[in-house]
């Protein structure tokens, strides 16, 4: 199973992925416990909101027309000044205005790609997982084919053959990127659908005579929502990176303003070797921060799906605040290798460094036979139930 999506496979120790509230804040109502409220998620949400606002109002709050040429005499980019907070480009256009206006295209393309690819992923992944048999084999093969093929070179070939006139259409670009971006989500969704398909409640729905589409939309899809959200964010992130890369290569109509296009012009101007940092730093940082926001949100969803990851992120102090540890309970994080089990018992101490297999087993057995021993007890409590 893919990394970060190890859902529904928790064995024995804990409950299912969705019903665990592993941070039992004593007074919090049940409903609030289910919302992931880690700083990661809050920062990610806040940053994403800022970027969305910029995408909407950016072109209007830009101080200048981003295509206006301010000087015909200056032949090199001007550093930041009072008139131009982020300096000017090689063509003497205002960088700040381009940055604000270029966000719209970047974010639009990424979200179109994310939406379309996620829709395709649901359609193909859930169908494959639910139908099984030959349909599953064929659809999985298709998904694996798109997964294995390097997407960017394929997109470069497609965009290379795209007539220049169509190279600046955000929706079309988003659609083309989506063609290469749906497979990962489809694979994850298929795996999860497979595991849900044979659960008792789905079986009972099938036995009561529910139709296939109804079982999928009302019994299975609601349980896929966290994975769906995660795969959507992943695809948007992929869309941001891919669109930026394509624009950076000059494959998107260079007159079409975007952050990747700004980086294209920065490269043309030789910004990296001439010290024109204001040409590449603002758009590059914008792309990186937008990506970071999306990735942080994705982490939050991952932690929501797999509670073990959430508890792992807690520092000791925060864990105590959350009521996980107190004076009565040892810290949740057990320190391996220096357990008191070894120290308190001479027999076990010998086994700790022994290469003898029989003595090792004996030592452990001796300990397990006496559950009241403080060392072992502490160990068990360290693994607090989840």
């Amino acid at each position: 199973m893919a990394i970060g999506t190890s859902t529904g496979t928790s064995t024995g120790l804990g409950g299912g992925p969705a019903d665990t509230g592993p941070l039992p804040v004593p007074d919090a109502p049940v409903r609030r416990r289910r919302l992931p409220r880690s700083p990661k998620v809050l920062i990610g949400l806040g940053a994403l909101a800022v970027f969305l606002i910029i995408a909407v109002i950016g072109p209007w709050i830009a101080p200048y027309d981003p295509t206006r040429t301010f000087s015909t005499t200056a032949s090199f980019p001007l550093p930041p000044s009072a008139a131009h907070w982020l300096g000017t480009t090689q063509q003497q256009q205002d960088v700040l205005s381009q940055l604000l206006a270029g966000g719209r295209s970047t974010i639009l393309v990424a979200f179109v790609a994310g939406l379309v690819a996620t829709a395709a992923a649901v359609l193909i992944g859930v169908t494959a997982g639910y139908a099984g048999g030959l349909a599953d084999d064929l659809l999985s093969m298709l998904a694996n084919f798109f997964l294995v093929m390097p997407a960017l070179p394929l997109l470069i070939v497609i965009f290379g053959f795209l007539p220049q006139s169509q190279g600046g259409d955000d929706v079309l670009i988003g659609l083309i990127i989506a063609v290469t971006g749906w497979a990962y989500g489809a694979r994850v969704l298929r795996a999860q659908t497979l595991s849900l398909r044979n659960r008792d409640y789905v079986e009972s729905a099938r036995i009561t005579g529910e139709r296939g589409w109804r079982i999928i939309t009302f019994e299975i899809l609601p349980n896929l929502i966290p994975i769906l959200a995660s795969s959507f964010l992943f695809t948007v992130l992929y869309g941001v990176g891919t669109y930026t890369a394509l624009a950076f290569l000059g494959l998107v109509n260079p007159n079409h303003l975007s952050w990747g296009g700004m980086l294209f012009y920065a490269q043309v101007a030789g910004a990296e070797s001439s010290g024109y940092w204001w040409l590449f730093l603002p758009p590059g940082l914008a792309v990186a921060l937008l990506g970071t926001a999306l990735a942080l949100l994705n982490f939050g969803i991952d932690e929501f799906i797999n509670p073990r990851l959430r508890a792992a992120g807690l520092t000791r102090r925060r864990a105590r605040q959350a009521g996980l540890t107190g004076s009565a309970r040892p810290p949740r994080r057990f320190v391996l290798g220096v357990t008191p089990v070894v120290r308190s018992e001479p027999l076990t101490a010998a086994s700790g460094s022994a290469s003898h297999h029989s003595s090792e087993r004996n030592g452990v057995r001796a300990d397990l036979a006496a559950p009241g021993r403080p060392g072992l007890n502490r160990l068990w409590r360290g693994r607090s139930p989840r």
């Binding site: 290379g160 000059g250 920065a266 070797s273 730093l281 990186a288 982490f299 990851l309 290798g337 086994s351």
Partner: protein
């Protein structure tokens, strides 16, 4: 072995599909690639033979049927003929690619192996010390993961090559050096490769760190890790037991990651003016050299498929369960 033969079968099917896609794109896309190429070739003498070669390449103006074109395409592929590169004065695409491929293989191969090793080790460390200050590493790696490779390349050149002057800012070797197996030349090549490789490692290690950490944390809750600890095994042995189980998903997700890494590395080459595939790719884009574009796509796809196959071999070797299933 059943598993391996099935994987090989899958990769062969993928390779055939990739070639088919490569064949179809110029034929289904709107516009006429032949005239587009000719318009970019102004100033060059276009002989009838060249025109004919272009028409065959893109399937316009020929009287051959679609299937005939397709079989023709395959046969020329097996003869090592990928068409004519128009941006480099009408030389075969294969010879252009042959000149660039070693640089890319050396740079990207080394950087990928390094980043996998470093990222996995760091991931183990971060998982092991969970709750410590090392957790703060994660937001930083998230940033590096989200930042475009070529943006990091911009930063690296500006900081390490221009401001600090530790590394040369671009190219793969000193122009004046003559390629030879002596220390001057080798050290010069290594010196030029250091900064691009570093950029690729930093950009791609983040994914391995996060992936390894997540699986490692789950693995550390397994009973056998607790038992190893309860037996009083030395710390490194316990870590070894957990890590060798946790690394399996990392290897199986290698196939997902390698495409990203290669794509990012190509863009990094462009910023560094490193004379690999990425650099001639940019040239091909700018000059409208479609045959070269298609050739590069094929070569990269085949390289990625081979890398995937190797990763699969390693996985089957490491995980006995895959062998028992067969």
């Amino acid at each position: 072995m059943h598993v391996i033969s099935r994987r090989i079968g899958f990769y062969i099917a993928t390779a055939i599909a990739a070639v088919t896609v490569d064949f179809l794109i110029p034929r289904v896309m709107p516009g006429n690639p032949v005239s587009a190429v000719l318009s970019k070739m102004q100033g060059q003498v276009v002989t009838p033979a060249t025109l004919r070669a272009l028409q065959v390449q893109f399937g316009s103006g020929t009287r051959e049927g679609a299937w005939g074109q397709y079989t023709h395409y395959w046969s020329s592929l097996f003869h090592g003929n990928l068409g004519i590169s128009t941006s480099n004065g009408l030389v075969p695409v294969t010879s252009v690619i042959r000149g660039a491929l070693p640089w890319t293989l050396g740079l990207v191969g080394t950087a990928t192996v390094l980043s996998f090793a470093a990222g996995t080790l760091l991931g183990i460390l971060v998982a092991w010390r969970r709750g410590s200050w090392l957790d703060n590493l994660l937001p930083a790696t998230t940033f590096f993961q989200a930042a475009p490779y070529f943006f990091l390349a911009f930063l690296a050149i500006d900081l390490f090559a221009i401001k600090l002057g530790w590394f040369p800012p671009g190219s793969a070797r000193n122009i004046l050096d003559f390629p030879a197996w002596n220390w001057t030349y080798i050290s010069d090549v290594l010196d030029h490769a250091a900064l691009p490789a570093l950029t690729i490692v930093i950009a791609s290690a983040a994914g391995w760190i996060v992936g390894m950490r997540n699986v490692m944390i789950t693995t550390m809750d397994e009973d056998y890790v607790l038992l190893a600890q309860a037996k009083g095994l030395p710390k490194h042995r316990v870590i070894w037991y957990a890590a060798r189980n946790a690394i399996l998903p990392s290897i199986s997700s290698f196939s997902l990651a390698i495409g990203f890494v290669v794509s990012g590395a190509l863009l990094t080459e462009i910023v560094f003016s490193y004379p690999g595939l990425g650099f001639i790719l940019l040239n091909a884009v700018q000059e409208g050299d479609y045959a070269l574009l298609q050739g590069i796509f094929l070569v990269i796809t085949m390289a990625v498929l081979v890398a995937n196959l190797v990763a699969d071999f390693v996985y089957v070797f490491l995980d006995p369960r895959t062998r028992r299933e067969a």
